[in-house]
Symmetry: C2
Subunit: 372 residues, 2 copies
């Protein structure tokens, strides 16, 4: 079996889980934030820099890699790890979320999804079997079942039909998945913002006995309190002895709230994307580097941060790089934001270890502020 | 005295010079190629990466830094070295070349040049005294006198008047330059493509006894054989005991030809600019990475190269990064091209040491090809 979860302990104060995920490319400590490398590169970073900031696993996107450079090419290159020079674990999504996001460009049937490429308009078809085929070619440690992710808001009947299709697709994915010794396949629980539908989805998928489960269909536009409510009733439906992954979530508050509700894994483009737009996550909250107030600030971005950016450069220099559209600015801000979330999750793990995660949350948000 | 040149030997085969330049921030081995960091950053690179590829000195642009972020800000930051985290030597140009390149946006008088910013159209005036003031604030090890760089072609009378003004401006720069212990000021020999005018310019400037001299007004559109001809009669006019700098030249062939004609220092945006456009300089000549022929090439960019890019990634991966507009592609190609020129100059120095630079030129161009 490719993927094995080891529960180390639960936080006595919060119930949050401390664990390890054993994968073919090494062990991941959870709870974990996974940087996103959509196109076989975490934007602006080298793999060595990711290791320096102690990234343990990255996510890459099946939809993008299927279109460009193509999964067959990556297979010929020896797989995604070798292609991009990353020898630690990789998780690939199923392509479902991206394909559904195409809106008018896609058509869903029971067989799968027909869509047009956002790059050149060419026609493609991804079925559950195809999603597994692509991810098998990529060689990710963790692959995701092809699911349907309903928008928010969506009505009860639509969500119910959708989750039932997701179950049928999950079965087809499981049947198509043969490389089980080297790649684990996770199921994705859907059900929108409806408790009984989440329960139905979880029950149906648990029968398929995947080595891990994700909560899909969240962070799709719903207010955060609704997301937390869904997590509160969904996480307890998930097996205790398997990893639990909340897809597409990366704000510091949502990570901490997710962990408290029993989640082990998170991914999001947020830290890299806002970094490239000049916004830093810091121990004092967000810093918009282009603000005039930083013009003559010869202080680090975050005085409590030990990353290369903060140890080496001033806000005045970073502001200059962004005003001058210099690539180094994108690099330094991306590095800082990823380091910030990875470091925060390390602190979260330590707080669980010491049964004080609720205290940690309080002190963190007193300084950082809280985004709703 | 801030700058001192030490002639180690001349190549018995070619006459090329092997030397050292002693500066307040360390010793530079010559002949040398200087990467350009226009806006207080060598595009896409960190200072540590520049050191890894053994860059010994970088160039930064007075015009750009004067406009953004402003030399006063950099002075407050503790100077350019500290601002950008580069503790090795820095050479700054005088801003003259950039200002003259503005065309209709500038007006030249005896006092100096009035121009409009390419950023926001605001009006500015740079005189020789102002150019020295800005470079003093930046704190570069080597500053350049404010000169007028005639276009190519330009007629005899224009070039003669222009070089004479450049001499008058050089005198004013020298008088304005007071920080002589920590910063050296180089004169720039002009005179276009006219031997007697080059001689006149050199004689006038040598009287001012600068610690180093540049050949300006080349690589401005003239054919390379003309540039080499000008170098052949200009370099011998320059003092043997001072560094000789050919401004704005960075193609491998022109570097080697320049060294053979007695030049010690070169700078150019070429390796970084073509790198960001996806063209690599390699031991086998130029490689345009986006070419379809690289689609399934799982070989390094340059099989003879030991840089991080070539040791780590395939052409197929680099091509993917460029096709997908990924920043990492710009980084890896920039790194490779700078490494290539720096390594080449190291080989050039070794060839001089061993009195075989003409042999080196021959074998280099048999593989690389020769751009005219």
């Amino acid at each position: 079996m490719a993927i094995r979860y080891e529960l180390i302990k639960e936080c006595k104060q919060s119930g949050a889980r401390l664990g390890k995920i054993h994968t073919p490319h090494g062990v991941i400590e959870t709870p974990i934030f996974m940087p996103v490398g959509t196109q076989a590169t975490v934007k602006a970073m080298t793999p060595e820099e990711l290791k320096d900031i102690e990234a343990q696993i990255i996510l890459s996107n099946t939809y993008h890699l299927y279109l460009r450079p193509g999964h067959e090419l990556i297979k010929k290159a020896g797989g995604l790890h070798k292609f991009m020079n990353w020898d630690k674990p990789i998780l690939t999504d199923s392509g479902g979320f991206q394909v559904f996001s195409l809106g008018d460009l896609r058509k869903i049937t029971e067989e799968g999804v027909e869509f047009r490429s956002h790059l050149d308009g060419s026609k493609h078809f991804i079925s559950p079997e195809k999603a597994v085929e692509i991810q098998t070619a990529l060689g990710s440690d963790i692959m995701m079942a092809f699911d349907e992710c309903p928008p928010y808001p969506a009505d009860y009947d639509y969500v119910k039909k959708s989750l039932e299709r997701t179950t049928r697709w999950a079965k087809r994915c499981k049947e198509a998945h043969t490389n089980t010794e080297k790649q684990g396949l996770f199921g994705i629980i859907q059900g929108g913002m409806f408790e009984d539908l989440r329960r139905q989805s979880a029950e149906e998928l648990l029968e398929l006995d995947f080595p891990g489960y994700a909560v899909g269909g969240l962070s799709v536009g719903e207010p955060k309190p609704i997301m937390y409510e869904v997590l509160e009733y969904t996480a307890p439906l998930m097996p205790k002895d398997k990893p639990r992954y909340l897809m597409g979530v990366g704000s510091p508050d949502a990570l901490i709230e997710g962990v408290i509700r029993g989640i082990d894994m998170f991914d999001c483009v947020l830290p890299t994307r806002i970094g490239r737009n000049g916004t830093a996550m810091t121990s004092q909250g967000k810093v918009v580097i282009k603000n005039a107030s930083n013009t003559e600030s010869f202080e680090p971005l975050d005085p409590e941060c030990g990353c290369y950016t903060c140890k080496t450069y001033t806000k005045a220099y970073l502001r200059h790089l962004f005003k001058a559209n210099e690539i180094l600015g994108l690099r330094l801000m991306t590095l800082h934001n990823l380091h910030f979330l990875i470091k925060m999750m390390e602190e979260v793990r330590q707080a669980i270890r010491e049964d004080r995660l609720l205290d940690y949350r309080k002190s963190f948000f007193e300084k950082y502020g809280y985004d709703l």
